[in-house]
Symmetry: C2
DNA sequence: GCGAAACGTGCAGTCCGTGCAATGTTGCGT
DNA sequence: ACGCAACATTGCACGGACTGCACGTTTCGC
């Protein structure tokens, strides 16, 4: 499937750099860590670092563009009779489960580090942003409109990103004791109801 | 009111730098413009540039933190019987009117330039982000919850930012021929209705 | 006016990010 | 097994972003 020694090595190096970046920044803060430090811990030359990430910040966030188109593809693959919101909820449910199930500490550490550095939050937004653009096209296709003619596709795509980010943030705030899928669901419940003031 | 020669000069220099940055980047693109170029056009030394903006990108975006808390304050000032969404709509309506009425070309140019550079979009998101944090607190106060206990305040604050950004983007896409307040309203209609698929 | 505080500026230095060219590794055909 | 072609790693040199510091100049409150 993944085949090739080359491919595997590349993936391994990329992950090593990402984890080195995460750990170091968690210890010393973003400004206390240089690209040279990260490269050193991952056992590659500083120059090689930039073959894997265009930016120090990107190495810390460590989400590749390939995972980005995924959401739009999954959305398109959902049964046609589902409404856009229903389809999105299903996609998010799947993603949330995957994130919560990964190497365990990766996402928590990532989120903790990102949350402490506004620059990285912005970077994360940028990553989501390109996913949302693809998603907007997919939504437009499903509803028979175009992104230019109607606000709906762009709005819904952006809102879905917001829902996921909010859930991730709440997950972090709960110190990862809450269930991520449950938080995602909660967010979508509020959205689907038109954001009414919560009863107390 | 604004008093002091010092204050006025500072404001003027800040604006000069921002506009210099905008124009230059519009002409040559973000990478074609150096801080020295911007400082030169605004008639200050390169070193002085950094007394006004922490970053080249910030000078291009040019939105100060003072305008940021504004949304939360206005929200809090709304009559108490309004629901959170109603109050937010009112605040956004006012903001949209102001933006559309400003020096005319400032926002259009800003949006055009920002939209062409993902890095700047991220920076804009960061600015909105701090506004949203303040807003979340205000929303929590209004609904009698706290930001920690419930997703609602954070979610609604983030969604409101999304609504405004989406409207701004649609405004840009219409080449500024559409009415910004109308676009904002349209976005909120969809949100308040729970984001149903648009009828065709 | 006058002293204190704020502002503008130059200088030196660190780090980020990139193009280029040399060197080492891997994959593949024979 | 061999050698060549493709690709990955690395060092070097460079331009630009940003910061701390020190010094001269301007403005403010009295």
């Amino acid at each position: 499937m993944t085949s090739g020694l080359r491919e595997r090595k590349k993936l391994a190096t990329r992950l090593a750099l990402h984890q080195a970046a995460l750990q170091l920044v968690a210890e010393r803060g973003l400004d206390g860590v240089s690209v040279d430090d990260i490269a050193a811990r991952a056992d590659v030359s500083p120059r090689t670092f930039f073959n894997y990430f265009p930016t120090k910040d990107d190495a810390v966030v460590g989400i590749d563009a390939s995972a980005v188109g995924q959401a739009a593809e999954r959305f398109t693959a959902r049964p046609a009779q589902e409404s856009p919101v229903e389809a999105l909820r299903a996609v998010h449910a799947q993603q949330a489960t995957e994130m919560a199930g990964e190497p365990e500490t990766l996402w928590p550490l990532r989120l903790r580090v990102i949350d402490e550095h506004p620059v990285l939050v912005a970077r994360l937004h940028a990553v989501f942003g390109s996913a949302e653009r693809a998603l907007a096209d997919a939504i437009a296709a499903r509803t028979g409109t175009t992104v230019g003619a109607d606000v709906y596709p762009t709005l819904l795509a952006a809102v879905s990103g917001t829902a996921m980010r909010t859930a991730l943030h709440a997950w972090l705030a709960s110190d990862f004791s809450a269930s991520l899928p449950a938080l995602v669901d909660e967010a979508w419940d509020a959205l689907a109801a038109g954001l009414p003031a919560p009863r107390r």
